[in-house]
Each structure stands twice: as structure tokens, then as C-alpha cells.
Symmetry: C2
Subunit: 238 residues, 2 copies
DNA sequence: CGACATGTTGATGGGAGTCAAGGTCCGTGG
DNA sequence: CCACGGACCTTGACTCCCATCAACATGTCG
């Protein structure tokens, strides 16, 4: 099932079999994209939404000098731009990081879902709110943590999210972000990312080289990051 | 009409009279709250959502040493915690800044709206996505701007939002945030906020004293802030 | 092989944090 | 009525984290 990773680990079980099938049948097509591929430019009107199947995609905004700030990183199973359905235009660019495989769903299909499946609609809404929760955590990171905490937090988040969809285990995962990419996600310079990674490596917390991450001490890394993963789950239970 | 400010300036016109009435009839009650009043604590299960009628409300997360990071500021007309309807639990605290007047809507009422009014549901969804767009802009601010830009940006955003609901004009508005509050919103210290405000005042851009803001040069302030207000409108048009 | 992105390390400087002191304003209570 | 405490605002001195500039190493792909 193409959409099998969607909401995996975060309330997917609340979807009925019928709803899962509706979602699956909504997929208009599957495509492969190369790395560093601009998918949507800010301000463009969008008519489809994208479900990420493989690879990594980021969303970002550039400042006046062209310096980039990532506002989100997406992993397989994520809807990348579902918010483009109610919004119609995006306020930011969307691009692949490494090569990626995506499924597309047309907005008119989503429209008909909202008219026939209220609960599924709420779950789609819910999934955009998970993005918002991650945004808030990023605000916290940038506002309150130093460079070490920011890097550590990003790795904790990515590890947790990848683990939910079966793409990380034993502290290890593979990802396409370069050091400059990490810098753009964390609001620091590439040079400083390099120094921080060295410190984290020397302290036995994390190694990251050539796209291979190994979190040697998740507890320690989470402590530096002040990382508490509840926000990634939406905490619907109870 | 109690909910008359909701989505004012941002697609409210897309609501039919019937939908406006449905929303109005959903209001369970109106209450006044004192300033500095904790409304919802992170992790609590919530059963109602809050529409802000008067005053200012913020959402925030505390770091390990109790340092606070605001993740959102709300002005009259905003749904403060509509995302709590699909999410059920919040990942952050919510509190008034100054005294405030709020209307509450029970989640079971919202639930019935989602089952009977798909278009109104999409507009509610849309309104939570405006929050997400503001989150993204805050990420950008914290990641790419220095202290001056951050303060300038916050004032530009608040001015624009307040103007939309008729609470700001001619560069002037009233607000309850103290300098320490601004610091918590901008990821800098209260002392530094003070210095930055002085610089902005001396440059003839902005004065802020005792809750009275006067933007003397909006163009200049927006330039420092790299502020472009489209994100506040959701840009549904065209 | 050369071009280019990425990774690494060093030297220097600046923006913002920290610590400290004092000022203003207000509400409360003796 | 005035003393007092408590927020908030203001300014100065010193410190430190991270940016900047620069040089070079490594790797990879046409």
C-alpha cells in the first residue's frame, strides 16, 4: 500500500480500513525526483498535495541576501504540503534534499473527501497540525537553545520520526542532509555546524558523516537538546 | 455578533451567512480573564476551544531552567487553541498577557460542524494553518534575523494583524506586552530588548512605551524586519 | 584531470548574554 | 499619608558564543 507510512505511529490506527482505502485510491500518481529539486515556489498556486514515499524534502524561506532558513524537514510518510489544500498558495519554497519518490493527490480529490468523510478529514487536519507542533518546537529550539542544543535537537527529532516509520533503529539512520543543510535548519553557519559536530563526536554522543548518523547516547543527546518527543505524537490517547 | 472578528481580513467573506450564524450559535459562553492568567497547561486534555474577543493571549514553552519562549501571540478575532480540537492535547501552555475577554466553543459542537458543514470545516482548518504560517515566519525570524530585525518583525506583524481587525491605525496600537514579554517572543534577553528599542526609537522607526506602540516609519521598520505580510492573509485569492 | 561541492581547522571580531546598579511607577498596608 | 515591595525600565562594564574570513583537504563526477 503506497500510503502505508502515513500517520504511522501517530494515530494511523484510528483510520478505518475504508478510510485507508479511500486515501489509497486518491493517489493520482507516483514520481521520482532528483536531489536538490525545487518542487514548489513560494506564492505559486498549487492544485495537488504531495505524500513523501522515499527520501527527504525540506521547506524553506530565503532572506534578503539569499540566506536560507529551513522551516521543515519531511521524512517518508509525511504529507509535504497538505496545508496547500486549504491555503491554495504556499508562503515558502519546497525542494527535495536527496533523490525522492512522491505520490500526488489532487485537491479536487481531497475536496470530495472532505465532503464525504468527516473523520478522515479531521485526521488530515490533524496531520497538518503535527507539522504546526513541529514548527513550535523549532521556534523553541531557535529561541532558547545554543548551537549544540539545536543540532542535538534536530537529530533527536529526525531519529524519532524515522524510527516511527521503520527507517531508523539502534541509534542509526541514513539521511541526505549536508552540513550546510543542517546549518540552514538550525540558524547557524556551516562552519559552526562542523565544530559542533566535532564536539558532539568527541563527547561520544553523535557521529554524522556522509549521510550516516549514529546516535551513540540518545539520553545524553536528548538532555542537551531538552528534547521531549510527545509533540511528535499529537498525544491523542487517554 | 460575537464572532465578527474571526477571519476578518482573511477570507471571512468566503463564509456564507448561514456559516457565520452556525459559528455564532456554537458559542457556549463568554468570559473575562485577568492578566497573566494561565488558561491551559501543556499536556492537559482540552474539551473546548477559545475565541479571543478582547486583549492578548500568548502560547509558550519553558526550557529546563524555566526560561520562556513564546510560540504565538493572539489578537482579538483569533481562535487561540482551535488546533486542540483535532489534537485533544496541547504541547504548550496558554495564558493571557493583559486582561482578556474570550468566547468558548465546545469540541462536541465543533465535531458536529465537521459532520454537517464541510466548507466551514475547511475554513476552520484554514484558520489553524494561518497559525502555522505565522509559526514558520517566527522560525525565519529567529533563525535569520538579529535582535533588531526580530523586534521590528514582531511589531510589523502585530500592527498588520491588529489593523485587520480594526485595532490599529496610523501606525498606532495598544498592547499589553512588557519588554520581558517581547524578549520571550524574540529569543533575546529583556536587557537587550531595552537597548534595541532605544536604537529603533533614536532612528525614528518605532516608539513603544507603556503598552503604546507608535510605528513612525513602517517602510523602514519592515525593511529591517524583512517583513512581507502575505503570510498573514493565506493568499487564497487569484 | 579539473571543477565544484563539501568538510575541516585557525585567527579575529562583534553581537548579545550576564551581572550589577539604580530609576520609575504602582498597589498595598501600616 | 507615607513606607514598602514588586514589576518594569534603563544604563554600564565585562564576557563569550558564534559569525566571518581565510586557507586547505577531501571526494566525486563530468
Amino acid at each position: 500500500m503506497i500510503s502505508s507510512k502515513f500517520l504511522m505511529g501517530r494515530g494511523r490506527s484510528e483510520l478505518t480500513d475504508e478510510e485507508k482505502q479511500v486515501l489509497e485510491d486518491s493517489i493520482a500518481g507516483v514520481r521520482s525526483l532528483p536531489g536538490r529539486n525545487l518542487m514548489v515556489r513560494a506564492g505559486e498556486r498549487v492544485e495537488v498535495s504531495t505524500l513523501l514515499l522515499e527520501g527527504f524534502i525540506c521547506r524553506y524561506m530565503d532572506d534578503r541576501q539569499g540566506q536560507r532558513q529551513l522551516v521543515a524537514v519531511h521524512v517518508p510518510g509525511d504529507f509535504v504540503d497538505l496545508h496547500g489544500f486549504p491555503m491554495k498558495r504556499l508562503d515558502h519554497d519546497v525542494a527535495t534534499i536527496g533523490p525522492a519518490k512522491i505520490a500526488t493527490i489532487e485537491h479536487r480529490t481531497l475536496q470530495s473527501i472532505t465532503e464525504r468523510f468527516p473523520h478522515l478529514t479531521r485526521m488530515l487536519w490533524f496531520s497538518t497540525l503535527l507539522d504546526a507542533a513541529m514548527h513550535r518546537e523549532w521556534i523553541f529550539r531557535l529561541g532558547r537553545l545554543g548551537a549544540e542544543g539545536r543540532i542535538a535537537h534536530l537529530f533527536c527529532e529526525l531519529y524519532t520520526r524515522l524510527e516511527m516509520v521503520g527507517l531508523a533503529q539502534d541509534g542509526r539512520f541514513t539521511m541526505a542532509m549536508t552540513q550546510p543543510d543542517l546549518a540552514e535548519a538550525c540558524g547557524i553557519t556551516g562552519v559552526h555546524v562542523n565544530r559542533v559536530l566535532r564536539v558532539l563526536r568527541e563527547r561520544g554522543l553523535l557521529t554524522y558523516k556522509g549521510g550516516e548518523a549514529h546516535i551513540a547516547d540518545l539520553k545524553g543527546l536528548a538532555a542537551i537538546a531538552e528534547f521531549e518527543p510527545q509533540y511528535l505524537y499529537g498525544t491523542r490517547d487517554g
